[in-house]
Symmetry: C2
Subunit: 203 residues, 2 copies
Amino acid sequence: MATTPAQTTETTARGGRDRAKRADAVRNVEAIVAAATRVLAADPDASINDIAKAAGVGRVTLYGHFDSRATLVREVVDRAMAQTDAALADLDLDGDPRAALGRLLETTWHLTHRFGAIVIAGTQVLPPEELRRAHEGPMSRTRSVLERGRAAGELRADMPLEWQLSVIQAIIHGASAAVHRGEITADEAPALVRDTALAALTA
Amino acid sequence: MATTPAQTTETTARGGRDRAKRADAVRNVEAIVAAATRVLAADPDASINDIAKAAGVGRVTLYGHFDSRATLVREVVDRAMAQTDAALADLDLDGDPRAALGRLLETTWHLTHRFGAIVIAGTQVLPPEELRRAHEGPMSRTRSVLERGRAAGELRADMPLEWQLSVIQAIIHGASAAVHRGEITADEAPALVRDTALAALTA
DNA sequence: GATAAACTGTACACACCTGTTCGAGTTAGC
DNA sequence: GCTAACTCGAACAGGTGTGTACAGTTTATC
């Protein structure tokens, strides 16, 4: 329990109005987003009711904080992308392109697996170009490493770069699905993803 | 009420009752299955209404031929699998494992791309083990070629076989998605799938 | 401890999808 | 050309999901 008030919460977040949001309201919003992330990652078609229940909150309360399903999904996607971007920003992508790509692959896999079907939930609600823009950030990092590897002759350049990006995405998603099916464990997945994708992109 | 047996059309199909089906009924059933295949391949969540409309038939008529959505989906999946199995049976899978796998990959891609999201429609309606059994046929062909290649030292054997199957599936589905997004053309896809998958599975 | 913000459950309006029933019109088949 | 099979639209029942309105209660904050 915070005994020291002093600029309690963020007044700058969205509505930045005169009054600050009440502490329990902030807590609930947080619980809702967290629950939505968890639930939607498992089932992109989960209802608002499921999410509210998972957050330990009434459905009406949820609507008090988010205008619509789309708004909530957008928030979840935004946070996921922000987290993704932050994790990727910590990565050292210099040096040997293959090694850099390997690190990038492992990290990306962890993120993809954590966020699972949220992307799907996004595609069903958000306009395509908005989704495209969200993907752009992480994608561009991979693309630049890929370009560097191709230019250095360490990665094969005899197929479209966009195709190679698709392959990477496909393998990562495939690994996540394979883990869910129990064919491989979450522990061995990163190495498999890295080795397989690197092999696929090597001449 | 059987006035004339006659054995006109297929009395053996399913209900194998006394009277033969009328010609227009057969035609409609065919149109429905074709439309369902087409529509569900694009959107696995398409409603019965959409399918009936696409088939140029009333919704009630559709229900006259198929008890429920599940029945229709089952029929569509069954036909797709039969077609798949037939196409794969024509393939020569002997000789050099890599060449055989290459042929298998190209053919499988064509089939997957044609049937698209039908698998998803299936997973949502049919019991898991029924789907599993449907997948078993085509999957087992790939598995045996894969095993042969691994044993011959032509394909890498340092990762689980099940994982390699997942990778193949992921690349094929990824290619189909990439074509839909317009990143690559349907013409260049088979070669890309073959080359990429073979590279991924080669030591 | 007073006040306003926030929470709660219930209930309603609306939309969509599934599956069924009905009566009337159309058509294939003998 | 008769008859049974087939088709059609409209309409209903049951289910689910979204979003809103209301009235009462809790609770943070000053």
